[in-house]
């Protein structure tokens, strides 16, 4: 993927750039808002990573300008401001996801890859398939290897999210935000418990595990 990072902190930018390059992405870097706007206009990027506070032109204005000019690439906003209001502002300005500093690199990577996936032309799907597991979004049913799996509504939504992002790493914070809509970190690992319950329903009776734990990052559903 071709990624543009607009971030004035050189060290932070290098840290992101290095990590993303190692994951096989092509990365450009702009050090202030004006430069970032110019670069975002001139070339086609798959993802833009924009720091909220930038010299010359702030991040939200950059995103608004790019959106006005028809640039539709997904935007991930990085910010030290993490309150609900700040998130809402960021998403209103045209951002697609919002990551609060400080963050782990694994979190950033997982979110970038999730955003990129969203760009794929996603027609209205009524069926999700991972390996021998099938989810029917209309009938709200899950079947694996011909056997129906009974899920609670929340478990269903959790699995739906994992299946939509199958093959990708999904972090605990992402799950808490997207499945439960909570934007804070509980001290207890609540997500791990829910994942283990889900795992006991979808994996335990079968030989092959679909739901994998990715050390230091999160989970991945993969056949």
């Amino acid at each position: 993927m071709r990624i543009l990072i607009i971030e004035d902190d050189r060290e932070a930018a290098n840290y992101i750039r290095k990590g993303l390059k190692e994951s096989g992405h092509v990365v450009d870097h702009a050090a202030d808002g004006e430069e970032g706007l110019a670069m975002g206009r001139s070339a086609e990027y798959d993802i833009l990573v924009v720091d909220r506070m930038l010299p010359k032109l702030d991040g939200l204005s950059v995103i608004e300008s790019l959106r006005d000019e028809g640039v539709s690439s997904p935007v991930l906003i990085l910010s030290a401001l993490g309150e609900v209001d700040h998130r809402v502002e960021g998403l209103k300005a045209g951002g697609d996801d919002y990551l609060v500093k400080p963050y782990a690199f694994a979190e950033l990577l997982a979110r970038i890859e999730a955003l990129a996936r969203r760009r794929d032309p996603e027609a209205v799907r009524t069926k999700l398939v991972v390996g021998d597991m099938e989810m029917d979004l209309l009938a709200r049913t899950v079947v694996r290897g011909g056997e129906a799996i009974l899920l609670q509504p929340r478990e269903f939504r959790l699995l739906e999210f994992l299946m939509k992002h199958s093959g990708q790493v999904v972090t605990r914070t992402m799950l808490l935000e997207k499945v439960w809509d909570y934007h804070f970190d509980p001290q207890t690992n609540v997500i791990d418990v829910h994942i283990s319950r889900l795992r006991s329903k979808i994996d335990k009776p079968f030989d092959e595990a679909l739901l994998h734990t990715v050390r230091g990052a999160g989970y991945r559903l993969q056949a």
């Binding site: 993490g82 609900v84 929340r154 909570y182 804070f184 970190d185 001290q187 207890t188 829910h194």
Partner: protein, 470 residues
């Protein structure tokens, strides 16, 4: 800032007193000046009337007994001294009789009146009797070419008016002097009391917060100022103390993980060759730094909540679904950690606030309960309507509980009771709950829980009681 004690002249009290004394002096001066003008004018008019009466008398004599009669009348009137002045002048301009040496050389005014000064030998043995005296007169032709000059000596009246004028001036001067004197006295008293307050405030600025402004108990405005000033100092001292505590706690809570992290890194550096242990050390250091960031984030959150930033976006909502969702999220967690979990949620109540903050508060209460309740214990999440209609959200556990004397303290930042010091955590969980309760105008109550059985502690019941009304 070194500044000498202000002299009383510069004080507001002195200036105000001086101003009022000045205004009083001015007004009394104006009143007295009016009295003077009125009485001086009246004296003049009376003099004129007396002179005109006298002319009438002279003219009557002239009609009755001719010029000789007038001459006799004048002699009769002037013998033995008189305040009246006469001159009888014949057609040739010669003086026939009278008690003046000659016509004064003053010119008559438009109305025919002459004001002049004439000499008169001292009549009595009054030593201070002046030689020159003031008079007013008029010349009238009475017939056959004869003229009569009639005047009145008003030196005595003049002197009386002069004395009146002097008295007015002296009185005005006295009023001003008294004003200044009372200004000095009042301002000295006032500034002495203000100086006491100023001295205290300078001492406090110098860093000693224990001083207090003196009070005299009179309840006047200065006394009230002192009282408010003291209350302010009280609050300041409390805040300073709390800040110092927070500083100490931060030092305590952050120093240990920081030191741990540092030691691990140092170890890893020394430990040459062993890749595996270096990897482990790095992972540990990462965990330590995450823990530190967690503490910082919690501090930041609490400050934001305490600042009330979110209050603008508060809405009315039914807390029941928020509580149920949180219960649903935590139920498996409680069961996995060996606690029984119960939830009772009463629907259809209204609170005014922020759903997300409320969720966060419940999460913290449940985290706290899970952390401190031993395995096999019970945790109960409850939302109910109090008898007075208020919504009460509570989490009850069967853990060790919190002794009554510590209950206020644990909601302060960073306070962790000694026995829990070795447990992981920022010590910020309950302070966050407290901040969330405060920003909702709710009451936070800590009580003994439902424990006390099966060897468990008394347990802890944390309740947030929301205010009623819209």
């Amino acid at each position: 800032m070194k500044r000498r004690m202000p002299s009383f002249v510069r004080t507001t009290a002195f200036r105000l007193t001086l101003l009022s004394a000045g205004l009083f002096a001015l007004s009394s001066f104006l009143i007295l000046a009016f009295v003077y003008a009125a009485s001086a004018g009246a004296a003049m008019r009376r003099t004129d009337a007396v002179i005109m009466d006298e002319f009438a008398a002279v003219e009557r004599r002239f009609e009755e007994s001719g010029i000789d009669g007038v001459n006799r009348y004048i002699l009769q009137r002037t013998v033995g001294g008189s305040d009246f002045l006469y001159l009888l002048i014949n057609p040739n301009g010669r003086l026939l009789s009278g008690n003046l040496n000659g016509m004064p050389d003053a010119l008559p005014n438009d109305a025919g009146w002459m004001d002049f000064v004439y000499g008169r030998a001292p009549v009595d043995d009054e030593a201070d009797e002046r030689d020159s005296r003031r008079a007013r007169a008029r010349l009238v032709e009475i017939g056959s070419g004869y003229s009569v000059f009639v005047g009145v000596d008003f030196e005595d009246e003049d002197r009386l008016i002069g004395r009146l004028l002097r008295a007015i001036l002296v009185a005005s001067a006295l009023v001003i002097a008294l004003g200044i004197a009372s200004g000095v006295v009042v301002s000295r008293r006032f500034s002495r009391r203000l100086d006491a307050i100023n001295t205290v405030s300078r001492t406090v600025m110098g860093g000693d917060l224990s001083h207090r402004a003196p009070r005299n108990g009179s309840g006047d405005e200065l006394d009230e100022l002192s009282a408010n000033f003291n209350a302010m100092l009280e609050r300041l001292e409390e805040l300073m103390q709390r800040m110092r505590n927070v500083g100490d706690s931060i030092a305590h809570d952050l120093r240990s993980p920081l030191t741990r992290m540092r030691n691990r890194m140092e170890d890893a550096l020394r430990d040459d060759g062993n890749r595996q242990s270096r990897q482990a050390a790095l992972e540990q250091a990462l965990n330590d730094s995450d823990e530190l960031l967690g503490v910082f984030n919690a501090i930041l959150s609490i400050s934001r909540i305490e600042a009330g930033e979110r209050r603008d976006s508060f809405k009315h909502f039914d807390p029941a679904p928020v509580v149920s969702d949180m219960g649903e999220l935590y139920e498996p967690v409680c069961e996995d950690s060996g606690h029984s979990f119960g939830m009772q949620v009463e629907p259809n109540m209204r609170v005014f606030g922020d759903r997300s903050l409320l969720s966060q508060g419940i999460a913290n209460m449940l985290d706290n309960a899970i952390k401190y309740t031993p395995e096999g214990g019970g945790i109960q999440l409850r939302l109910r309507r109090c008898s007075d209609g208020r919504a009460e959200l509570s989490v009850t556990d069967t853990g060790p509980g919190i002794p009554e004397i510590d209950r206020v303290r644990v909601t302060q930042r960073f306070v962790r009771l000694e026995k829990s010091r070795n447990q992981p955590g920022s010590g910020l969980g309950l302070s966050l709950v407290k901040a969330i309760a405060d920003v909702h105008g709710a009451v936070l109550r800590l009580d003994d829980g439902a424990g006390g059985v099966d060897g468990h502690g008394p347990g802890l019941r944390i309740a947030i009681i929301f205010p009623t009304g819209e």
